[in-house]
């Protein structure tokens, strides 16, 4: 078996997303999803419910009256927030582990993923884009291919790095040359095997190369730009550093100005601090293998 086949083989044995997260993601295809539909799913998970209530009552949000039911939590936090936090908390322990090869601590990958999710959301607001429900979660999962590819990158790191240095090509291109596949494609294949909605699969698959997708989409462009900003800001950077390309086509299509870019970047730090404050209140859920 060559390395590429070994990697693809590994994707099928990668732990699946908890059933609950899958059900929640399924709802994303429904534009009329309501808070009660979401609460119907999460109410069967006492740990998640408890965590959401804890978050709704977190000191950070500054309310004095405590919420006592999940529907009150919805009222206080909003459907979108609950949804994002549910999915985040369910995949939390999947993302919070160190990734060899890229030398990412569990904290690094989580931080980078959360930063990209928040940045894509912030950019959406600045660009007045109609709610793209999948964006936040796509941002959260865009680099999950690194979790699988890490050990292979680790074995061939010197070879990959030598190509990056000598030929001045992006890191993912060097990955492809040495391993036959790169972390974005591995992530895309994993998302596909998890039966994610097509937009999510595409934005994970093409996040380093939006032009590679048959049809570039706003979602892909947004994840690409958000990822670029977070790399530039050094948020959760690994051994691959910032050896990646910025695709000008994405900037033109989304019509992002320097001012939007810098304002959004300044908002990112605050957003990240807010999430850090709230997440502190949510202990890691034993997500893998629970369902």
């Amino acid at each position: 078996m060559n390395v590429k086949d070994q990697i693809i083989d590994k994707i099928s044995s990668f732990p699946t997303l908890p059933t609950m997260a899958n059900k929640l993601l399924g709802l994303l295809n429904d534009p009329d999803v309501t808070g009660s539909q979401i609460s119907q799913i999460i109410q069967y998970d006492p740990a998640l419910t408890a965590n959401l209530m804890k978050a709704a009552n977190s000191a950070y949000l500054g309310h004095t009256k405590r919420v006592s039911s999940i529907s009150e939590a919805f009222f206080r936090l909003g459907t979108k927030w609950i949804f994002q936090m549910s999915v985040s908390s369910l995949i939390y322990s999947n993302m919070r582990r160190p990734v060899t090869g890229y030398d990412l601590s569990g904290e690094d990958l989580w931080r980078h993923s959360m930063a990209v999710a928040l940045m894509s959301d912030i950019l959406c607001k600045h660009l007045n884009l109609k709610e793209i429900g999948l964006i936040f979660t796509s941002g959260l999962l865009h680099d999950m291919g690194k979790i699988i590819l890490g050990e292979f990158v680790s074995d061939s790191f010197d070879e990959i790095e030598a190509i990056v240095e000598k030929e001045k090509v992006p890191f993912e291109e060097a990955e492809r040359r040495v391993l036959g596949i790169d972390h974005a494609e591995v992530g895309g294949l994993t998302a596909e095997s998890w039966k994610f909605p097509a937009t999510m699969v595409e934005s994970i698959r093409w996040h380093h190369n939006p032009e590679g997708a048959g049809m570039p989409s706003q979602a892909i462009d947004l994840i690409h730009i958000a990822d670029a900003v977070c790399m530039m800001q050094g948020l959760g950077i690994g051994k691959d550093g910032i050896h990646y390309r910025l695709n000008e086509g994405s900037i033109t299509r989304l019509n992002i100005t320097n001012q939007i870019m810098e304002t959004a970047t300044s908002q990112l730090v605050t957003a990240l601090e807010e999430v850090d404050n709230i997440i502190k209140e949510i202990p890691a859920v034993e997500a893998v293998g629970r369902s």
Binding site: E161, M232, G234, K239, I242, E262, S266
Partner: protein, 159 residues
């Protein structure tokens, strides 16, 4: 030895013997160190954006987020603790960009340009620097000795 870690948009000044000021993952952000060897007094800032005009309220809450509000804060803190301008040793690291970025959103380059202007207006020279490229850098200042180092994928080098 005690390690003082600076996050994004933070500034710190120390003359505590044994202190090491350090900041990680400088991409397009810039880290500046200032050191007065006579007092063994050192300071560092890790700012992310060039100009505060994009968000005066953020600048009010976190002046070290921007070069134009943050660098003056670092200077004032240094002077307040007795630093003399003619003894200041100033070193700079960061200002990276992604590959093929040219002028598009080149926050790293703008961060550096604005810094040079501010220092020039204050009649302060940069003693040494390691800026640009596609590197992620860690900047470290030893308060006891003033030794300033940069760590990146190219290894550790003295600035």
């Amino acid at each position: 030895m005690s390690l003082v870690v600076l996050g994004i948009s933070e500034v710190h000044v120390s003359k505590m013997p044994g202190d090491i000021l350090i900041t990680y993952s400088l991409g397009s952000c810039i880290g500046v160190t200032m050191y007065d060897p006579e007092l063994k007094l050192g300071g560092m800032i890790h700012y992310m954006l060039p100009l505060s005009k994009i968000s005066p309220e953020k600048a009010a809450a976190k002046p070290a987020m921007f070069a134009d509000t943050g660098v003056p804060v670092l200077l004032k803190k240094m002077y307040k603790m007795g630093a003399a301008k003619d003894r200041l040793v100033v070193k700079v690291a960061g200002g990276s960009q992604l590959m093929d970025q040219n002028k598009v959103f080149n926050i790293g380059e703008r961060n550096y340009t604005v810094l040079r202007k501010i220092l020039w207006k204050n009649n302060i020279l940069i003693n040494s620097e390691d800026v640009g490229g596609n590197l992620s850098r860690t900047l470290r200042l030893d308060i006891d000795t003033g030794l300033t180092t940069v760590k990146s994928s190219r290894g550790v080098q003295e600035l």
